[in-house]
Every structure is written in C-alpha cells, then in structure tokens.
Symmetry: C2
DNA sequence: ATGAGTGCAAAGTGTTTGCAACTAT
DNA sequence: ATAGTTGCAAACACTTTGCACTCAT
C-alpha cells in the first residue's frame, strides 16, 4: 500500500520481464502502480482512467503481459466485463458479484474445493473457481427490494 | 422435441403473452421453435442464424420477453457472451464451460446448494448458481494439452 | 542499434436503442 | 382503430489489431 510496496512489486515485475527478454516501460509501471494502490477489483477502463497518460490499448496489453507473468489475475463478471487485481493482494480468493448493485465480494479461497473435487472425480473437469464471479443478490439489495 | 411439443410451448407462451397484454408474433414463434428444437444452450447469434428471417434485434427482444415470462433462461459465459435455453428443457441444472474448447457442460442442479447455504448464512448473499457458468478445463482438453 | 512496446485509428464482438412502418388484437 | 412489435440503422461497451514511430536494452 505504501510507496515502497509499489516499488517492490515494480522491481519484481521488472526482473521477471527482463528474464523473458521483455522490458519494463513507463506504461507497465503506471499500470502496476494503479493496481498496487487499488485495494479491490478494477476494470481495464478504471485502470486507464487512473493511468491518465497511458493509452487504453496499452493498458490492455500491459494487463495481458502481467497476467502471463503471474502477477495479475482477472475475473469475468456476469455482464461481459472483466475485473483485474494483483495476485496475493488479498490472498487467494473467489469472487461473487451482486446482480443488482454490481458490488464484488471476496469469498474464501477454499469455498468450492469440495465441488471442485467432485467435478474432477465425476467428469474429469478441472474447476478454476477464481476465474468467474459467482452471481447472486447481496444482503443490502435483498433487504432494499 | 416433436412438432407437437413445439406447438405446445408456443401455445403456452401465447397464453402467457396475452395474459400480459402482449402478443404472439411470427418472430417470437420462430425464436421459440428454434429453442424447442435446439437440445443444448445456444447463443443469440445462433438463434438469429436459425430463424433466418428474424432480425437480430428482434431475437434479442424476443429472448428478453421470453425470459421475463419465465420460459427462457440465460447463462453468462466467461468470455462476454450469453447462452439461452428453454427452462425445464432438461430440468434445473447448472453450467460449466471449458475455458479451452468452449463446450458447455450441464451439472446437477443441487451441486452448489451447500455453498449457497453457507453464503446466505455468512454474508446474506443469495447465490443464483445457474446464472453464470463455472469455468475450468474439461477432461478432453486436459488430456490433449 | 535493434527489436520490443507504444499510440493511434480502425475494426471486431455482442448487445441496445430511437424511430417509422407494420400487424395482432 | 390502436397499441404492441418489428426492421433498420446507428450507437453502445468492451476489446483487439495493424502499423509507423519510439525507447529500453
């Protein structure tokens, strides 16, 4: 969360990039810094807005690169959009999105472990539970409606 | 599956529509017939292709109407698209999509009941497990890769 | 120096909308 | 007759791509 934490991640990514023959650039640094300072899940558009001078397409390309390097994870949300976050920013976890207000909730990482075991055993299907947000209605919206 | 089954659904929908002050039209009938004859889950584009003379936008509007009436259900897939199917065409069930080949698998409806209870108890979050397809890798793709 | 990365503009999906013409009731 | 529906075209949100130029190495 502090400036040094951001620098730390930037340094790690820089090392990983060079390891790959890739380069640490201002755009990539800016995207990393947005993600470091953003506590939650954030859309590509929000990243682009926060890293004002980085072009949208470069944001997408940076997010892709960071994903390949294993620093960033994305979650598909119900309505066709995607949320990004640094891996281990809040530890491994799953996601649920309220269908009504759009809020994303973090869920305990092992929540679907039993289901994953069952799918693997019964169908040979390897569940990647973190990759899509579960859908439903949060308590605030249930009460309001 | 037979012609009479299709007619049956059309008649039920027609009744529901008129109940609402809405109308049974050729477009809606065509969309229903595509869904009746389609065993699995189908995208709006596929519906439009199968109902050749119905405009895309009318397909979307028909699917929306049929959803509101409770005859159709949609599932959000990982990569921003949506699949539709008649409700009770194969009974209540959940969905999982292979991240690699895109195939959609039907899962037993109660698979996430325990998880749903836990989310409700712990967070007051009402899970609608059928509304988003779980993501992972199917056995065929696991073996191939 | 040289190839990876960027900005830009343009295209590509999947979906929605405003409006005049049409049609089921 | 008259509202609900349609087709069309255009706009929309999100993302990807081709290309010439730039910059990290």
């Amino acid at each position: 969360m502090t400036a040094s934490a951001g620098n730390d991640v930037v340094a790690k990514v820089a090392a990983a990039l060079r390891n790959n023959g890739d380069r640490m650039t201002a755009s990539r640094r800016a995207v990393i810094e947005v993600l470091v300072h953003e506590p939650g899940h954030i859309s590509a558009e929000q990243v682009a807005a926060a890293a004002a001078h980085v072009h949208r397409s470069s944001v997408y390309r940076a997010l892709e690169t960071l994903t390949e390097l294993g620093f960033v994870q994305h979650v598909h949300l119900g309505h066709g959009s995607t949320a990004y976050h640094l891996i281990n920013h809040t530890g491994p976890h799953l996601h649920a999105q309220c269908r009504s207000c759009g809020t994303i909730y973090d869920l305990p990482g092992p929540l679907l472990d039993a289901v994953a075991r069952r799918l693997d055993r019964d169908l040979g299907f390897r569940l990647e539970a973190h990759h899509v947000a579960l859908s439903g209605t949060c308590s605030a919206c249930t009460t309001t409606t």
